[in-house]
Symmetry: C2
Subunit: 671 residues, 2 copies
């Protein structure tokens, strides 16, 4: 990294390549003022901006590493940036806003048409971001997420919930470039990262950010390692996870435990039973929802304490569910209200959020009392003391931006994106303070900068129960790859998808293809979906039970290999599911691939994500010979091949010469 003065301005170079080029004729920095409108409806946000002012900072005065910017010569200094080199590879731009009036900031970073860009949190539609604009705001990801589909149209029409390609539970103002650098903006404000222009990326921030960090390294792997150190690394997975699959069942005690027993009878290796409905349920038009009062529902699970112990004796753990909200009609709401633990509205009453036919108070985690109460009274007392070994920590995305006041005094528009990280930290602290780190795990769909250091496991959110391009099985891969580059080593998904609306129903085929993929991810977990009774379930068909058992045994078979990936995640921050280009920098065919991944260095997985296919096209990276795990066939890399792809034999290949060759060879024989 090098800052150089040039005629009429300056340049910041990296490996001889200009990253930032600022001259009076072509300024790279702009500030301005905007008036935004943010409309919220059940986690979906309609955000518009009226730009009142946008001032190019034409004139730059350089004084050592400090640059002062103004609009015209001899006019007021509007911004000062200090370019602080951390070492020869990394730099921090420390920004000082000289005019508090401004609330918009833009920076242009040089680009060209060959560049690829990845990251921006967990992106579900596009892995390579170049050519598109990405608003960064944690929200519901949308149902359908494709304006040309009927389900998106209907979701928009009836629920304002159709979403679009950029909507995600987990945005992050950080990207990696194929030019071996990564750029991060230190802000929790709304951002738009615009990669549409050929010549430059334009990054917009709805505040003047404190700093911009630029990292570089010689290889993508080194860069990923560096970012994982910057944003935080996860603890290793608990040992019990490796025992098999976590079954998601929410039919109450009798139903859930008898179905678990049935699965065991069918020789399915089970590591956990996850009952979302442990705290009770509520029927809504969307389907079965949970009763948001985070304590054991003795009505729905009369013998849960004993059952959990019985499970433990069988080496099976019990998992539950929490969110950072409490429903109005629950007992805990009354207590938290009385203790003043909720965020307040204009009328100094509890700020309520509409979750779809029920309303909840916002637990104000900027307040120490709230954090402490939630950790002690909910997570420790109600969950951990009951023997619960894990939970879904849901709903980090809903913090409203209007008519809400937080104890730390920060505008909710600036706290909205920070909320998932705050929520993750509360969960993590409870686990750590209980001395259960490494044995207890929670998983989240929401995320933001820094949630890496708190959240031990991502889950891909609520896919449709289908193969659709923007909300189906394949989006899970894109989510794993993009988030994995930013220090999120562990990713998994609801097997079979979640959302069933407007006539869309999960088929046996969708469920089985999803299992086939999940066997090659660090955690396997099913979900009944939002409308269990109308959708295909693992135990409604003997062949599926058999198929699932076999795929879980394949997962278990790979555990020795998986544990080395977990070690790598722990020591180097490499994600378990890796984009192909991490190991094939010279094969640019790999740069755009978002429906295949390397499961560790040695296994290439290409999940089938279309309906009714019997074969599948796979790209095998150049420079390596690949061996098909199902038939031992050797194939030279650097080409697209088409392989048979029946259910139960997802396209998976290992590197010739792998240390794990014997293990991989046995996959085909597992029954």
């Amino acid at each position: 990294m090098k800052l150089e003065k040039i005629e009429k301005g300056f340049v910041l170079k990296h490996n001889g390549k200009v990253l930032i080029n600022h001259t009076i004729d072509s300024p790279a920095f702009f500030i301005g003022k905007g008036i935004e409108t943010i409309k919220t409806y059940r986690g979906n946000f309609d955000i518009t901006d009226e730009i009142e002012e946008r001032i190019p900072l034409y004139v730059s005065e350089i004084n050592n590493n400090q640059i002062s910017f103004s609009y015209e010569k001899e006019s007021a200094i509007l911004l000062v940036i200090r370019f602080c080199l951390k070492n020869d590879k990394d730099i921090v731009l420390e920004i000082e806003n000289k005019q508090k009036y401004y609330n918009r900031f833009w920076i242009r970073v040089n680009s060209d048409s060959d560049e690829k860009v990845w990251g921006c949190g967990e992106q579900m539609s596009y892995f390579n971001l170049k050519g598109r604009k990405f608003p960064l705001w944690t929200s519901e990801p949308g149902v359908g997420r494709d304006k040309s589909t009927e389900i998106t149209f209907l979701s928009d029409k009836y629920n304002k919930a159709g979403g679009d390609y950029y909507n995600t539970n987990y945005p992050q103002p950080t990207f990696l470039s194929s030019y071996h650098y990564a750029l991060h903006i230190d802000t929790s404000a709304y951002c738009e990262f615009n990669f549409k222009n050929g010549d430059y990326h334009e990054l917009e921030v709805w505040e003047i950010p404190n700093s911009i960090e630029i990292y570089s390294d010689d290889t993508f792997l080194d860069l990923v390692e560096k970012l994982s150190l910057r944003f935080g690394r996860q603890p290793k997975l608990p040992e019990w996870i490796y025992n098999g699959i976590i079954l998601g069942l929410k039919g109450g005690e009798e139903n859930s435990f008898s179905r678990l027993e049935n699965a065991i009878q069918h020789n399915i290796p089970v590591s956990g039973l996850w009952c979302e409905d442990w705290a009770g349920i509520r029927e809504t038009s969307f389907g079965k929802r949970l009763f948001w009062n985070w304590e054991w529902s003795k009505k729905r699970y009369p013998n849960l304490d004993k059952k959990i112990q019985e499970l433990r004796n069988k080496n099976i753990r019990f998992l539950a569910y929490v969110s950072p909200y409490l429903c109005e009609d629950g007992d805990l709401f009354k207590i938290a209200k009385q203790k003043g633990l909720f965020a307040l509205n204009n009328n100094e009453e509890v700020a309520l959020v509409d979750f779809g036919e029920f309303y909840c108070g916002v637990l104000d985690f900027t307040k120490n009392d709230t954090r402490k109460w939630f950790k002690e009274e909910i997570l420790k007392k109600n969950l951990l003391n009951l023997g619960i070994s894990g939970w879904m920590a849901d709903f980090g995305e809903y913090l409203p931006t209007e008519d809400i006041f937080l104890a730390n005094g920060v505008d909710a528009r600036l706290m909205h994106n920070a909320w998932p990280t705050l929520w993750a930290s509360v969960n993590r602290e409870a686990v750590q303070e209980s001395g259960l780190e490494g044995d207890v795990i929670f998983f989240m769909r929401s995320g933001f900068t820094g949630s890496q250091q708190y959240c031990p496991l991502l889950w891909a959110g609520d896919q449709c129960v289908d193969f659709s391009r923007h909300d189906g099985l394949n989006t899970v891969i894109c989510g794993a790859l993009s988030s994995g580059l930013l220090g999120n080593a562990y990713h998994h998904s609801d097997i079979g998808g979640y959302t069933s609306l407007f006539g869309l129903r999960r088929t046996k085929e969708v469920f089985e293809r999803w299992i086939d993929m999940a066997a090659f991810t660090p955690v396997m977990r099913t979900h009944e979906g939002n409308r269990p009774d109308e959708n295909f379930q693992f135990d409604q068909d003997e062949t599926t039970l058999k198929h699932m058992g076999r795929m879980v045994r394949i997962y278990k078979h790979l555990v020795p290999y998986l544990k080395t990936l977990v070690d790598e995640a722990f020591n180097k921050g490499y994600p378990v599911q890796r984009p192909l280009f991490l190991y094939f920098e010279n094969d640019i065919n790999t740069y755009d691939i978002q429906d295949q991944y390397l499961y560790g260095k040695d296994l290439l997985v290409a999940p089938v994500h279309k309906q009714g296919v019997s074969e599948w096209k796979v790209y095998l990276p150049a420079g390596t010979t690949w061996i098909d795990v199902w038939n031992n066939q050797q194939i030279q890399g650097g080409q697209y091949i088409t392989v048979p792809a029946p259910i139960g034999k997802p396209p998976v290949f290992y590197r010739k010469g792998s240390y794990w060759t014997d293990l991989f060879k046995q996959i085909a024989d597992i029954e």
Copy 2:
């Protein structure tokens, strides 16, 4: 109007009310630079803008009526505006751009929550524009025009043609305020008039405009009269129009003339036979389209010359169809190409436009040779000499903005909005030069500033064949009212609507309700729609033939009254169909009404525009007693009433004491 210097700036006042308030703390003028993207698909435009720079012109220096603007004290002057009072009521702001670099201009005009705003050309969805933003760009208006409807979704998905509330064939950067002023921007660039903010209107122009005109007067009627003088007035309607209805038929000679004969046999008064397909047809997936080669198709109409004379002997005129394009596969294309009459593209070849499964050359009407050729060879020789008395002059909206070069050297982005006016002028000149003004009429859906002085009759474009809120019958009224305020006195529509797609079909009910309205408009004309065979037609049902005959007789019965409205249009520029508030300034209930109108001063018409209703709610303005034409009941104004509304008896009321009382009394007896 008065310009006053105040501390830190200046104000422009009108009747003591501040229209423009410019201070260093709250500037009213901004300039900037944007980079737009305009994507065209068959007359639908996807337009986005990236604002690179938006500079508030904080500092103003006043020197008599000339104001110089800059960003900071003692910095460069960016803009100069001369405030030229024309009289005590009207002012022109002459604008001088001091920095050619800039291509965006914004002005803020004071507003408040009580203000109503009308105009902006022919608006189909909203008459009062306050609270919404209106991009002003001539285009297809869209099919459905409502993102929550299935037909809009499907039109967007398959044809990029769903449209939205602001899409219109006829935009105009001119609005009227309930504060008795009108503002017009002299530009043909893309504009956005934003009336969303409570405190100000923000008007955006994609160039630095030459001038802004502000007119005021004591009454709305006087203001409308003034605007009609500014933009031009139409000639009177030809006498033959009053003979009855114009039948739109396009089944070729035998079919069209025999159906005309059948209508006559059924005692329907007919003034004209309009055969769009006079030049031949073409089948496309959209439906029957025309063959865009503007000469008599002897194949489809073998005896047209004789037939036209025979019709004349029966006092019926023949009407045809033209557009400003010629299809590639027609004879005239070859001639015009050889003569160099088309606009060219980058490769110096004829710039072609996709009209939906066929391509056409763009006749370059900025070129005198083209204008002359089209007038002489097409309009005079092929139409007027054949005895044609009128035509639809269609398709002014499609001028592409990319890869097209016009003879006058002006960027097509600036000529796009000007095209409808240019197209209207060619038609008008042909009529005038032939000495046929007052006998020949043409009608257009496209329009822009100045088309008032050329186009003698608007038609409301292509509604869906239904009662839908944003693309059905009621939108025709909104179109008539908004365009009528800006000097377009004559408006009519396709009886029964036009667009039938995605399973939508015209019903008998829709057709008959539309006829009921059309009887109270200056011109009655049917249209078979885009898919004649699948939609209800006037002659497929004896009761409809009878009903239509009666409604046309009511239209004819009102001709003596209508002629006084035509005189008023000629002398004062009042539209024939008038918003209620023009005569009821003190009754603010009338300001938002967009589904009723005054047909001249004395008749109030409230067309039924919903399915399956038997009664209808009507607002009668205050201060007058109204008499129901169907039952002679007297009703005091200033209230909503509900009246019976069977087909054939549209809610119509006349003023008590009207000079035309006897005429109006007879309406109910017409059979």
